[in-house]
Symmetry: C2
Subunit: 353 residues, 2 copies
């Protein structure tokens, strides 16, 4: 399976700056002062360059939500009980969760992947069962996953990206559901940004001050126990990560290998992105950071990735909700690029040179 | 006509905090940690409170683009020739401008109001001719408008808001077109923020360093000539403003009087908002700041208004383009509020109290 992953990684090429320049040339011919649509222009140029087509379609968008449980909840790191993970999966399937609402708003589909929920689902439309384990082990006391499980989680993500591409999906987003998952995400943030746990750990679903101090201590203990090595991303994912984070990393790699943009959600998605970026640095070229989360570690993670978020909306829900909003902005940028009249077409005087 | 304006102003009431609290109560019952959708929740609560209905519709959205010319272009303050104003009006009417693309993306209509273009248009579908004058006078040498013209411009905006309400419009946005109009907008920014012209003047459509220094000097000269008084907003609008800025101020007042939100675009719209806020401070409760423009004065104007922009997208086109994007975010927030399942409905365990 390591060999399969290596093949995917080998297919990821940096985005060609010549394509960015070609797209910007068209943007500069449109009836507006050059660059005056700012980040909308940047989004359009990025999309064109990723797709390597002058007028690429953006019809089908998909949010893939990876759900998993976390043994570390035994340490009391979350404000919600662990059964909320499987209950929220049902909420996703019935269309009542935040991600359902925002994906509908963005014209995107939602695929829910059980990659490690501690609950046995029956087959349901919209649910993809790819359970690697019934949740991770308690990373404060033992490795969260075996190395093999971590690899399998990544390959599930790769497979879901490939399935999306085969279904004609133009743009992907990664979402997450997993009570307790800000703890492994913060641990991975510490590993890959080099910051202390206290600097990258936040309140997750809303724990109070004392619980936050405890959460930081749990992460410190885990890092002291496992000594994760940022140069061994698969090892770090196994030691202090989680299955949905692995799935997200794989989805990113699969999207980049297939030349599709991956709209990045918040804190958990960024943990997956850090794993993916260490495995394949060029994958970052395919990422668009949808928003900056309230979680304090998120900005540091985005800086490490070299990404600037589109929105700063004080969001901290996960599920891919920020990414769904990001889709609406990407689409706006591409429509500007495709639909605006040029100076010549409109008979408008251009700026004198 | 002053009497008519006073009647509109008298109808503007502050938004009731009890309605904000009622909306937040519903938001807190939905299947997400309280507050975890950040500014989307804020937008939903604001809309519900403005409309004073638990489940208000948001079907019809309209961007009203006021177009006018500016005598101050004779001073060489713009990168583009003045005929671009009327040429861009035709571009709006044919659907090829940035605002057309983004309004379509947001599901909003575009109304173009000739409030002072130096060109005589024939009747055209989508164009509302309410010409107060063939552009303003050169504010560096004489008052831009008479006090009566300034008042008429405001009343045109009020009338367009009332027409929108009569047509069932749920949310309004104000846009602008007018070569040279960042000069009056910067002058009004200086008047109402108390900052020096150099602090609030930017490159507009893209002038170089020397032209920028000249633009600042032109504004300094105008302020020294007219001594506009921030406590006399109508006088300041007449002395150093412009007709589309007056129209925007009126649209804001009309929207607030009719309890409809007004999505604020960038630098020019903020100048109109400062005039409106001085005439009727409670009107600010009905404003949503869509984005922060590249123009350096814009942030200072938003701070004076007490508004925090939704987007920071490095945009500087005007026309209402940022506001159209803002509509998509407002709609996302309201859909969250209306469509998400509650904890009870979804059978999801809430956070233990």
């Amino acid at each position: 399976m390591m060999n399969e992953l290596s093949q995917v990684i080998a297919r990821i090429k940096p985005v060609d700056p010549a394509w960015l320049a070609r797209a910007q040339e068209r943007l500069d011919s449109l009836t507006k002062p050059p660059g005056s649509l700012g980040r909308l222009e940047e989004l359009a140029a990025r999309y064109v360059a990723i797709r390597q087509e002058m007028f690429p379609p953006l019809n089908k968008k998909r949010v893939v939500v990876f759900a998993a449980d976390h043994g570390v909840v035994a340490e009391g790191v979350s404000a919600y009980p662990p059964e909320v993970t499987f209950q929220m999966v049902y909420n996703f399937l019935r269309g009542g969760a935040g991600i359902n609402v925002l994906a509908r708003h963005a014209g995107a589909g939602v695929e829910v992947v059980d990659i490690g929920v501690n609950y046995d689902f029956a087959e349901e439309p919209g649910l993809v069962i790819r359970k690697v384990a019934h949740g991770s082990a308690n990373l404060a006391r033992q490795p969260a996953l075996t190395r093999q499980e971590a690899l399998r989680a990544i390959m599930v993500g790769v497979e879901r990206a490939q399935a999306a591409l085969a279904a004609g999906v133009d743009a992907l987003a990664a979402g997450d559901m997993g009570i307790g998952n800000t703890t492994p995400a913060a641990a991975l943030a510490a590993v890959f940004t080099g910051q202390a746990p206290a600097a990258v750990t936040g309140r997750g679903t809303g724990i109070a001050d004392e619980a936050l101090r405890h959460k930081v201590a749990v992460i410190e203990r885990a890092l002291a126990l496992h000594h994760p090595d940022p140069n061994d991303p698969l090892g770090a994912l196994a030691q202090v990560g989680g299955l949905e984070i692995g799935g997200i990393a794989g989805l990113i790699l699969g999207a980049a290998a297939g030349r599709r943009p991956l709209m990045l959600d918040g804190f958990i998605a960024a943990a997956g992105a850090l794993v993916a970026a260490r495995l394949a640095p060029a994958a970052v070229d395919y990422l668009i950071a949808a928003h900056r989360s309230v979680e304090p570690g998120h900005q540091l993670m985005l800086e490490t990735l070299g990404l600037s978020p589109l929105l700063d909306f004080k969001m901290r829900l996960g599920e891919g909700t920020g990414a769904a909003l990001g889709f609406t902005l990407l689409e706006a940028g591409l429509k500007i690029y495709k639909e605006m009249a040029t100076f010549v077409e409109a008979g408008v005087a251009d700026k004198p040179a």
